[in-house]
């Protein structure tokens, strides 16, 4: 049986982080390329062949500054960098195990069809971190697709109780390219707001359930995410926890957080921020 063909990409917004990242993944991801987003000048010790600079590609969305990973996804899709196999997209602050590639290939070989997304980190979908991390998920789904987020989750949580946290995924090329095309119109609602960046990983779940894809997870931990947040972005949920001086969300906070979240939903829907 043929080995699955995987195109590995690590998305990075700061060129200074690439050399550091290369040290930690060196040799673990065959054919790995770094996808640089943002408009910072770069001077990496890396070969230029290992670098994709989105701003240099003919079709890019660097003019929409708050989309981070999606800027790389878009560039890969629209410039048709690969056009087959599987696309494995990782964030720069992810640590992969030495066996990442072999386990990844085994997991892909086990799939009976190409209607899936493979994630490495999961969390329950019926939780404020998914539902209310950013007002833009709810707003964009309602405005662009006429979908009520809470009802959608209520309807699918039994069959698909977990979402892929972070944008570390491996996806068949055809699904990947279709996701990019599906997601792009949503971004017009939030592309210019810092909280817009938190929509993409959650939208993967929404896309999966709407398109009847299976959401698969690696049963062994082969990836760890450091959440460096070197881009300085914190979602509404994270900011709220900071305000409360707590690392975890508890039930006493729920009603207060809901008031805050609704306040933003209503004011942002009215078009002011």
């Amino acid at each position: 049986m043929l080995e699955p063909k995987i195109y590995y990409y690590i998305v990075c917004h700061d060129p200074r982080l690439i050399d550091e990242c290369e040290k930690s993944v060196s040799g673990k991801l065959p054919g790995l390329q770094y996808v640089l987003v943002g408009r910072q000048p770069y001077s990496s010790v890396l070969d230029r062949e290992k670098m994709i600079v989105c701003n240099e590609l003919s079709d890019n969305i660097e003019h929409l500054p708050n989309l981070c990973s999606f800027t790389a996804w878009y560039a890969i899709r629209k410039n048709r960098l690969p056009t087959d196999g599987y696309v494995c997209l990782l964030e720069y602050d992810s640590k992969v195990g030495t066996n990442f590639d072999s386990i990844n290939k085994r997991l892909l070989s086990e799939q009976t069809n190409n209607r899936f997304m493979l994630g490495y980190l999961k969390a329950p979908v019926d939780h404020p971190v998914f539902l209310k991390s950013t007002p833009w998920l709810e707003i964009s789904l309602r405005q662009e697709l006429n979908i009520d987020l809470a009802s959608l989750v209520a309807c699918h949580k039994q069959k698909n109780p977990f979402w892929i946290t972070t944008t570390n995924v491996t996806i068949p090329w055809s699904i990947f390219s279709d996701f990019v095309d599906w997601y792009l119109p949503l971004t017009k609602t939030f592309a210019r707001d810092p909280w817009g960046v938190f929509v993409q990983e959650r939208a993967l779940y929404v896309y999966s359930v709407l398109h009847h894809l299976e959401i698969k997870f690696s049963e062994v931990q082969i990836l760890d995410h450091a959440e460096s947040k070197s881009h300085g972005l914190v979602d509404l949920y994270g900011d709220f926890l900071k305000l409360r001086g707590s690392g975890v969300f508890n039930h006493e906070m729920e009603s207060d957080y809901d008031v805050l979240y609704r306040y933003f939903i209503e004011t942002m829907t009215h078009g002011s921020s």
Partner: protein, 395 residues
């Protein structure tokens, strides 16, 4: 929907505290008051109508619990202790006008001072484009500071034309003419001056006796006069190796501070390092154009500022193939004469394509700002900024 229809169709939600709303926002007391009484609309409905129509988008609160939670959140988010001591909010708001609106209604209703709000905006922009965001005037001045290149001899000597559009007399007198007088290399000076100011033309002639001064209409900003001067040079069968293009750049509608420091930075860096620039261009045939530090900009075609429609129109008219919007902004640069003279040949550029008077961005003249770089690339030459050419001091 008017108030009466609203009152019939909309149920006031339980969490809307009409008494709180009226007390917290005194300006709503008189809102549709008489009309509501006459139409038999309840006070609750009247106030909720205001909330839905104006209050929510202005960041108003619907009850005291919401107010308490949201205000605590905003106080945390815009914590004054996070603001850097050297952040100058007056400078910042002048520089980045869009910051005036940033979270404005939210902050206004949550007791957040402008300083904290604007600093939050600064942090946000700094993340997006770290190279051009400044928190005080000192940082801006430093960004466009004079960078001294090594002193070198130009062998063989270069034939240089300095082409200036002197629209603003004060800038000519106080800045540009002084910089030109400090140049210790031979050059021919060509200056275009608005026809409405012959006195300035006379002044320039007496300051720089060998110069050629051309009176021009106020049309096509600094671009059309530049092309007309080039045309004159070509028609007179004069030839140069290089052309330094400068102008008395100023803005009435744009960012005054940025323009001021950019202009001074261009003058000092280009005129003060002229020998070095010419020698680098002499020694490297591939170098087609050189700009002052920090003046290169690469834009996506979809961006408002890209001016891609005009850019493509001019490109098509001139038969320019390169379509990248990657240029030296401010239109002050050194360029090879053999490249730019092509723009002055025949009648490919008619006066009719340029607009009259001062125009904000988006005109044919602004498209030309982008075109010069494309012409250079069409000649398979590269563009560099002065600081990229200076060797790194290993010591």
């Amino acid at each position: 929907m008017d108030l009466l229809e609203f009152s019939k169709q909309v149920v006031v939600p339980d969490d809307f505290d009409a008494r709180f709303y009226e007390k917290s926002h005194p300006e709503v007391v008189g809102f549709y008051r008489q009309g509501a009484i006459e139409q038999g609309v309840s006070n609750e409905h009247r106030l909720y109508f205001h909330f839905v129509k104006y209050g929510r988008r202005g960041g108003y609160f619907k009850n005291s619990v919401e107010q308490k939670i949201v205000q605590a959140f905003f106080r945390h988010r815009f914590d004054p202790s996070h603001v850097a001591g050297d952040f100058d909010e007056i400078f910042y708001e002048k520089m980045y006008r869009e910051s005036t609106q940033y979270y404005q209604p939210f902050c206004q209703h949550n007791g957040i001072q402008s300083r904290e709000r604007l600093y939050h905006h600064y942090k946000y922009l700094k993340r997006l484009s770290p190279l051009m965001i400044f928190k005080n005037e000192r940082e801006l001045a430093d960004h466009f500071r004079f960078i001294e290149a090594p002193k070198v001899k130009i062998i063989p000597p270069a034939r240089l034309a300095v082409v200036v559009h002197a629209y603003y007399e004060d800038i000519w007198e106080n800045e540009l003419s002084k910089e030109l007088k400090l140049i210790d290399i031979d050059f021919d000076l060509y200056v275009s001056v608005p026809a409405s100011n012959p006195e300035l033309a006379r002044k320039i002639k007496s300051e720089f006796p060998g110069s050629e001064v051309l009176l021009v209409d106020n049309r096509g900003a600094d671009i059309l006069p530049f092309l007309e001067i080039l045309k004159g040079i070509v028609a007179g069968s004069r030839a140069y190796d290089f052309v330094l293009k400068l102008h008395t750049k100023k803005t009435a509608t744009g960012n005054f501070l940025l323009t001021t420091y950019l202009r001074r930075g261009c003058y000092r860096n280009m005129c003060g390092n002229l020998g070095f620039i010419l020698s680098m261009m002499r020694g490297d045939d591939q170098l087609g154009m050189v700009g002052a530090p920090h003046t290169r900009i690469i834009l996506h075609r979809e961006e408002d500022y890209a001016n891609s429609r005009n850019f493509d129109w001019v490109r098509e008219r001139l038969g320019i193939l390169d379509d990248r919007i990657d240029f030296i902004f401010g239109t002050m640069f050194m360029i090879r004469f053999e490249i730019c003279k092509e723009l002055a040949v025949g009648d490919i550029i008619g006066r009719d394509i340029f607009q009259d008077g001062h125009q904000p961005d988006g005109t044919t003249a602004h498209a030309f700002e982008r075109i010069f770089a494309s012409v250079v690339r069409d000649h398979n030459k590269r563009i560099a900024l002065l600081d990229e050419l200076i060797p790194i001091d290993e010591g």
